[in-house]
Amino acid sequence: MSLMGVNKEPIDVLIERQQKEPETVAKERLDIILKAVELKVPSRVPISGLGGDIMAYYNGKTWYDVCYDFEKAREAVLSFAKNFPQDFPFILAPYGLEGFIFALAFSDFPDFSNIIRFLTGPVHDIIKDKWSRWPGRELREHQHPQFLGGEFMKPEEYKQLIDDPLKFIHDVVFPRACPGLGKPKSPQWNGTLIRIGLTLQRVASFQGALFQELGKLGYPAIPMTSAYSPADIIGDFLRHPTGAMLDMRRHPDDFKAACEALIEHILKVATAIPPTPPLTISFIPLHLNEMLSPKLYNEFYWPYLKKVILELVNKGYKMFIFFEGDHTPHVDTILELPKGWGVAWFERPRDFIKDVWEKLKGHTCVMGGVPTNLLVGGTPEKIEEYVKNLLNQTKSEGGFILSTGVAELPKETPKQNIRAYINAALKYGE
């Protein structure tokens, strides 16, 4: 087959095409993504969901490299993008961890609120935040950077948060969570902020150049802004998820008032980049969702998230929401949103077809369907069979993006398995 050089595998044809005619491929990609988002039937089901360890290690880099050494991060991203083509990749380079609290804190500064949204290693070095751990710093160089969160607000401080969220974050949370900043208004504090600015500029210009290069590999540039679920701000950055879950029972009114107070600031971050046709995406990763019973979800989580989504959809954004974990118990609430509101990426629903696809098809663009562990531990034959079967059940309906549950493939993932995944998607997705 491929060895003969005559009957190339579909993936090899695409690898060649995306280098030879990147503009055409980028157009095709944008077109199939748009069609999927608009719930139409694209010429081929878009492929997504490849990344993580495998991207860092594929051409011999470490996690330290892709977090701190921009040149090596560039090489890692480009060589992976070249050899494992996908249509809707989620690329963070230098690698970024959850850092929406910074976007929120600077939500009055639309020129950089979305640039500071993901926490990077270089910024972590400056502020020494306690939310995250980084390779070559707190972790060994080959370890994945990790977001830990923590408790940086006491339950009795809800009132202050509610009264003025931004002031509370700057005055109370930052000094506790970011010892690198020193004392507020001190020379160290001021100098550190300038140093963050210089670093962000370096990160932003690197990313700009990288996206240009990805364009030369046929990857379309789709503008993306960031939003967040109000309850997750409390869980991720202020009270720790455990604390947030206890607060829902012990301080229910405070919790709800805080969610309400955070909405306008979240919207400011999301709208910092205006919606531009044909497609501007606003990304929200959900965290507490699967941990909550429908009762708690419907009282403390969904009403506030829904407000954020509806506002942004009304303004012309398409949402891109990562439903972490098993969102099965809450899937029905998605139907409360207007048809075609955006892309829902499901990590680990109990039964993808029954619990997610059958309920949402024709209403929501659904992304996912492939268990990450199938790519890690399966065989190329099993993967082909699985993808073929999945696509046969979904492709004629449209509004589907093929993806793993989370773009975090460990470095041991066999390359032939990833190729089998892409090959099967190209073969059976048309």
Binding site: Q146, R249, L288, E290, L296, P371, N373, K411
Partner: protein
Amino acid sequence: MSSSEEFVNAILELEEEKALKITRERLEAGEDPLKILDDLKVVAEKVGEKYEKGEFFVADLVMAGEIMKEVSELVRPKLKELGKAREPIGKFVIGTVEGDIHDIGKNIVVTMAEAAGFEVIDLGVDVPPQKFVEAIKQHNPDVVGMSGLLTLAIESMKKTIDAIKNAGLRDKVKIIIGGGRVDEYAKEYTGADAWTNDAATGIRIMLGWVGGKKV
């Protein structure tokens, strides 16, 4: 309803104040504190049932675990005062595997396993395979739990189980892997005996394993 039933129900209804009030009343009435702890084992079992039926979610486990912890703390001084100790139903070694430092899930398991009557040896986070092997040699546990949130944790779980095999200890312990991203594929791949996405089911599986053995 006996105070024991009322107590169990209060925790299952997640009524923190009520559960603590009954605990204090039972202790003041001179009831054997061990009986209260036995009730916690019943709670742990029922919490697992509720989770499996889809009536409980992680947030409910967190709350139930918190109440169980508070109850244990109220009971402990009384137990000490009477010179009594609880006979553990089994020994359990747990840790978050190498490369991963997440511990929310692990901590819920620790709280619930202790409340259920296990003697728990918590190895912490980012635990290398060799440390699991040494802990098995030292503590001779019935069950080994490996926790991890990251996808890469699954590779570490496999390495750890391989190390346990190579040390000739695999037949001596039951192994359960847990975390958001483990599944049947991960169980097969790592060679564990069981997998779980949640603490409550994990505790139920462990209680099943040690069930016939002691108590």
